[in-house]
Amino acid sequence: MDKFIFHIQRFDGEKKWLQRYELPYEPGKTVLWALTTIKDDLDPTLNFTSACRHAICGSCGIKVNGHSFLSCKTSLDELVARFKTTALTFEPMGNFDVVRDLVIDWKPKMEKMKKVNPWLSPASHGSKSDGFIQSKEEADAIAKPTDCILCGACASECNQLDVNDGSYLDPFIFNKAYRFLVDSRDNAPDARLKPVVENGLWKCLHCNECVTQCPKGIPLTDQIAYLRQRSMENGERNNQGARHAYAFHDDVRSKGRLNEMMLPVKTDGVVKTVTKKIPFAYRMIAKGKINPFHFPKKIDGIEGVRKIYSENEKERV
């Protein structure tokens, strides 16, 4: 290997193109080294953002061969090994407006983040003059979510955001809502739970791409699962996602298995099922995917299943 080849997506506000650059190979270098070296030595018109160069400011996320990375902490050698090529394609992160070249716009994301009231709503056991008492365990609960550096890698990877109309909250916004919800100093669970339910909490596709690419290892999908549970406990049950979850819950509890025929009815109601889902159901039946005459009976050992439920409920109380 004697050189790196980079295809960098350029954008000037109107047109978009891929531009090729070459740098002589050097071991142990990062993606950010490549970008700064290209700008310094080859092309001053190339634009990207970066600041701290040690993975704390969150400015330098880009896509390399379709996956999002922080360019400062990502080694070129590792990318070459992973993609088995010295030709790498750099693009701006996905699901953001692009300003120029690899530069993306954060302003609209912050406007969206305001929906979850992203600030502490202080509980009454603290005050501005004396602060709070918070146990080590309580502090541990917010340690990981406050590692978030707002780099946007999670949003860039998010498959729901890709297809969504724009209302769906970015994973880092769910993280923000979670962060305050589990903070013992906060007293406004509704201010987090209502907006997340209204803005797509149940639409997460569980693809886990956000978790995979988060440079800080934040368990975003676990947080979304937690937000769903808390929202149902908080009475947010009259929505498609919660009804769907309850349909599973209730079926398995009573029969030990799912009644697929009734699942859409329970999730979407009779009217919507009849008007929207019937043609789809016909096609499913025609292809042999579902059997309309199958009414599941209780499984053997249903008592055991119910025992699991009641033990679990005891624990939660």
Partner: protein
Amino acid sequence: MLTYDVVVVGAGGAGMMAALSASENKNLNVACLSKIFPTRSHTGAAQGGINAAMGNRDNTDSPERHFKDTVKGSDFLADQDAVEFFTKRMPEIIQELDYYGVPFSRDENGKVAQRPFGGASSPRTCYSADKTGHVILHSVYEQCLKNNVTFLDEWFLLSLVVEEDECHGLVAMDIKSGEIHGIKAKSIVIASGGFGRIYWNRTTNAFNMTGDGTAACFEAGIPVKDPEFVQFHPTGLASTGILLSEACRGEGGYLLNKDGERFMKKYAPDKMELAPRDLVSRSIEMEIKAGRGFGEGLEAYVLMDLRHLGEEKIMERLPQVRELALDFEGTDLMKEPVPIRPSCHYMMGGIHVINPETLETPVKGIHAAGECACVSLHGANRLGGNSVADVVLFGKYAGIGARKTAEQRSFSGDTLLTEKATEWHDKFHTMRQKEAGKSLVEIRNTMAGTMWDNVGIFRKKDEMVHALETIEQLIEDYKETFIGDAAIRYNMAFVNYVEIGNLLTLAKAVAMGAIAREESRGSHSREDFPERRDDEFLKHTLIYKEGDDYRLDHCPVSITSYTPEERVY
């Protein structure tokens, strides 16, 4: 014309605390302007902690002791009225930050946890693992969102418009659109950070720490105070200069030379690794000079050993540090010692502030806080854990000061602002059209090289004079440079061009101040004048820029409680 009652320039800890406290008056229209998105600011890079005499871990600690430690750490150059004001109020501001949601680490009583830090007589550094600055920055940003502060993200300060010591407003570029605007303001807070990038890659600083606000104040007639005092952090990673927190030493890390010796016993037998930064940095360099380091020349280093702390403590208190050493030096510090060497870290000097309670400057309407400013809290050497403390506390009071100024002043006319904006507009146009000239990158790298080699940790006259001449030549070359990008939209080449101009302007002040100070004090270590000389130099340097000329002057140090004595650790 854009008009705000208060404009804050910079959205780090100081800027956002200022914006937050200015916005407490709901009748005022407050904007916070920053060349980067707020949470990218360099406050976020502060790892180890924030000093406040809470007495949570050691109930004998007091603001008085914090006061004394800071003054001693400053090598008696700090203004003691400012230090006393600061140390007294720090405990209450920690509670305030707690109330804003900062996720501090906690002790067994549920109070904010504290750890030992260099130069401190008590474990008084409050922390959140090793991401203290990061969590403070994000929490203060959240509070600003709550208070509906107007953020002008990715707006770049070009000039302050001042006439006869009265400020009318500023000129700034909206980087995304490339438009240049005059902005009218009754009061301005400059909180734009330090300028460690005069050493370019030999610094822990982010790429954008280019002293834009300090340079703009300097151009507007406000002197730069004590620019010669540059802090070199002892524990930069050897190959990149990236910072490993002082918390490493605070939690008990050892420094070792190539003979495996804890060499600090020769230089600070009492405090050992927990001596202040200036002393530890010099000790490391002395070991390297004496041939007891590893490697040679610019590649030389010593080791920091944390293995004896145990994996559990490292993972609880220093998880980020471990990751940095893994990612950027390829060393797992749970298993082996990590190579380190001093790296430029912090500017003690900066914009001349004349009142520590309002953060006023000599120009009516301009306040300054944070690393860009010199209050002077840190004197000749800053203690670890005092910078995040500085930004939140003086940021807050600068915001209150600016609020009061805005309540008392009225808006000026448009003329001067429009003129200045047009001037910048023309300059932008000219630079976009220019197709050839001297290389900006070469100018930048020559500046960094000469500053590191000649105005670094150890200094002597002839070397510094050489550096000064080099910088003066570079300032001439800079007039002949070009940017190579004709775009209007997001033209970072132009922004970088202005930044390098600012660095050159300030590098010259650093060299001048350093040549004139013929003594060794704090971070300023003269091989030709190894002693501190209170009779002649117990005073602040002030450098004024008058056109292209620099004029050196002085002002007295405020000494209220502690008379200077020998500084031993």
